[in-house]
């Protein structure tokens, strides 16, 4: 699967796109853990003190919010999935 990072998150990781190979049973949570392991500087931006996703950080799976349309971090992943992490939107 591939992560896409935006704005300050891409700057913290030093990359906009990150490919990660995961086992076939992997979940969104596994992909997040693998991303943070590879880019530890992201952790403070993305997780709060309790290790949960910060309220203002958005996570999308293939353009949809898995916390609304699926099982959040427990959502199963496909190898072709695109996950995205970004801060509050600020267009316009």
């Amino acid at each position: 699967m591939q992560w896409k990072l935006f704005a300050n998150l891409a700057e913290a990781a030093g990359k906009r796109r990150i490919d990660i190979d995961l086992s076939s049973e992997a979940t969104v949570g596994d992909a997040l853990a693998a991303l943070l392991e590879r880019h530890p500087d992201l952790e403070a931006e993305v997780l709060d003190e309790e290790g949960d996703l910060r309220d203002h950080i958005q996570l999308l799976r293939n353009g949809r919010n898995p916390f609304v349309t699926a099982n959040g971090l427990d959502t199963d992943l496909d190898a072709s999935d695109e996950l995205a992490l970004f801060p509050p939107v600020s267009g316009g």
Binding site: L60, G63, S90, G92
Partner: protein, 303 residues
């Protein structure tokens, strides 16, 4: 309108071939250098007029239009049943592209002038001949759609397909023209528009903004905008809603975002254009970095 620059040796030949192909798929504009470059002056412009006098007539008319310019006219149009010529001042490539955008689907920019803007390019010439452009292209992050040693090695159809996947130039006028072409336009008595632009200062004490840099989640941003538009179009009396958000660097004074609403009456037009921009700002994954004369920061960090 999709702009495309053609540069390198043989650019003129390729630009004509591309124009011919694109004209089968839409309305094509062309921007080229007004005066021929050194190489062409000898071979083409210096020739004697053709037997039917076509060249001579065209050049004489241009000279006549030029005389009005010399007399002080800011712009001069020469019209007849077959077409028009125009001469004027104070226009750069950016202005020409944005002036053409409302009524053209493609714009071919031929020759060195194409380097003046951040256009997708077709680069002709060997490594040696095009090395300067290569370096520019990399440094400026310009998109190179195709490279070939000669004009004949380029497939116009392939170029068009890649071109149509790039970001088109949209202006307020091109979106207004777009909604006017709606099949429901006959029932519409109102068009409301919103334009967001780069502001220099919130107030007189605010540090002046130099530019904003927008990053868009390609694909998803457009999908969200289309979703918002179609939800707004489901309202009574709303016929069409178009939105466009520019990305990349936008300097102070430039336009950022447009929302255009085609409606039956002004009431629902005003209401919908406001809801459209509010939802775009709240929901569409686009990120804004502000660069002032002193510092740079992501706008979401300074609500």
């Amino acid at each position: 309108m999709y702009p495309i620059g053609v540069v390198g040796p043989g650019a003129e030949r390729l630009a004509k071939r591309l124009t011919e192909h694109l004209a089968e798929h839409g309305r094509v504009g062309v921007v080229t250098n007004r005066r021929p470059d050194g190489n062409r002056a000898d071979s083409e412009q210096g020739t004697t007029p053709s037997a039917d006098g076509g060249t001579a007539v065209a050049e004489t008319r241009t000279e006549e239009l030029d005389r009005y310019r010399t007399a002080g006219a800011a712009s001069v149009y020469g019209l007849d049943d077959e077409g028009w010529s125009a001469i004027g001042g104070g226009m750069d490539l950016h202005d020409a592209l944005y002036a053409m955008a409302p009524a053209r689907d493609f714009c071919v920019v031929e020759g060195p002038i194409g380097s003046a803007e951040d256009l997708p390019l077709v680069v002709l010439g060997g490594v040696e001949a095009s090395s300067a452009t290569d370096v520019d292209a990399d440094a400026a992050g310009r998109l190179v759609l195709a490279r070939a040693p000669t004009a004949d090695a380029i497939d116009p159809e392939e170029v068009r397909e890649t071109l149509e996947a790039t970001e088109p130039i949209e202006t307020l006028e091109s979106l207004v023209e777009g909604v006017k072409a709606s099949p429901e336009a006959p029932q519409s008595g109102a068009i409301a528009t919103f334009t967001g632009r780069v502001r220099a200062q919130e107030d007189a004490e605010d540090t002046p903004t130099e530019y904003l840099a927008f990053e868009k989640y390609e694909g998803v941003a457009d999908e969200r905008m289309a979703q918002i538009s179609s939800e707004l179009e489901a309202r009574e009396g709303i016929y069409e809603v178009l939105m466009h958000h520019r990305s990349g660097r936008l300097d102070y004074g430039e336009d950022i975002v447009f929302v255009v609403v085609l409606a039956g009456h002004r009431g629902e037009a005003f209401e919908t254009v406001e809801d459209g921009i509010d939802r775009l700002k709240a929901e569409v994954p686009i990120f804004k970095k502000e660069v002032t004369v002193d510092e740079e920061f992501w706008v979401h960090d300074r609500p």
